[in-house]
């Protein structure tokens, strides 16, 4: 018996044909900024105002049912004016065996809503994003650092953070 792990990826070339993108275009076209594909991995860029609404839809829609949030992370783009951060949600549908990625662009001090109400596992994942990037999630039940000690200065995965830290090694 062989397992076709590639089934999780999208076999087509056009991201518009991905079932999640089709559903988002039909129901939430206003909040959808753009879509993209790389190596069979499809993502959607979503405005922060509509992010919670769209992520709830992706979980609850019976045709998609992204019931598993495998990761929340972020990317720092210091040169991108007005949208310095991308918060990235990696979704997986256990029943459909489909993966999907949602990116939410944020500016330097902008907050986004927490998704702990949608996937409870997001509590620690969002704490890690806050610890490493300094992105705050409004409505988070316990917004503390998780990996670095309390009282740590700065957010290490920001590009302006010095490579070897602020203390002499």
């Amino acid at each position: 018996m062989s397992i076709d792990w590639n089934r999780q990826n999208f076999s087509g070339e056009d991201p518009e044909q991905h079932p999640a993108v089709v559903a988002l275009r039909a129901k939430h076209g206003a909040g959808l900024i753009g879509v993209g594909i790389s190596r069979g991995e499809v993502w959607a860029v979503v405005s922060p105002e509509n992010a919670i609404e769209i992520l709830t839809f992706l979980r609850d829609d019976p045709g998609l049912s992204f019931d598993y949030l495998s990761d929340v992370t972020a990317v720092h783009w210091p040169d991108r004016d007005g949208a310095e951060f991308d918060v990235v949600y990696q979704l997986y549908s256990i029943g459909k065996k489909v993966r999907f990625r949602v990116k939410v662009p944020l500016s330097q001090d902008q907050e986004t809503g927490t998704v702990t109400g949608i996937w409870p596992t997001a509590e620690w994942l969002e704490r890690e994003v806050f610890d490493m990037f300094g992105i705050r999630f409004s409505g988070h039940p316990d917004q503390r650092r998780i990996l670095n000690p309390e009282g740590f200065d700065g957010h290490p995965l920001r590009k302006e953070f010095p490579l070897k830290g602020r203390v002499s090694w």
Partner: protein
């Protein structure tokens, strides 16, 4: 007696009469050192991949129990050797320090691998550059990770260090915390 505190080797006096034999003359210091060096109880804790090698050392292939050190204790109150096996992060540093403080004297520390020795490849904001910044280290074992043979050699080196410990001394009335005895004169 003049031999007290000088760790004279144990001498065996043999009598020609069989019933008067089996007499050992030695110093109390040597007996105490012999007991401590032969029943080293390490603390059960590992921080990173070096712990896997430490577990392999305790397993049947390398069989640490041949030497009498296999009794890993799950409580710092019962252990007298702390094997720092792995990367000490800034977040973990207060825990390591607290474990060391909870161990009863006499106690020894063995820094296993590059990370515990000097931070290893992790010259970053989150890693302590060597566990010697937190607690006094007796033996360093190099390697990334060290082979089980290297760890065994490290503990044997620690045994030689324990052998040199002076337990009773006329000149030393108060023992400072962290006192480890004299250092060995000749190279190991």
């Amino acid at each position: 007696m003049s031999t007290i505190g000088k760790n004279k080797p144990t001498r065996v006096y043999r009598s020609k009469k069989p019933q008067e034999g089996n007499i050992l003359l030695t110093s109390a210091s040597a007996v105490i050192n012999h007991a401590q060096r032969s029943s080293i109880m390490p603390l059960t804790f590992g921080l990173a991949c070096c712990a896997i090698e430490m577990i392999a050392t305790a397993g049947p292939r390398f069989d640490l129990s041949r030497f009498g050190w296999e009794a890993y204790r799950a409580s710092p109150r019962q252990s007298d050797l702390m094997i720092v096996a792995g990367t000490v992060t800034n977040k973990m540093a207060p825990v390591v320090k607290k474990l060391y403080d909870q161990m009863a004297e006499p106690k020894w520390v063995l820094a296993m691998g590059s990370c515990a020795t000097c931070g290893g490849v992790f010259q970053t904001y989150s890693v302590v550059p060597g566990v010697a910044n937190l607690i006094p280290v007796d033996v360093y074992v190099p390697g990334c990770p060290p082979r089980p043979e290297a760890l065994i050699h490290g503990i044997m080196t620690l045994q030689m260090k324990i052998d040199q410990k002076v337990n009773f001394s006329a000149s030393l009335t108060t023992v400072e915390p962290g006192f480890r005895g004299p250092t060995r004169k000749e190279p190991l």
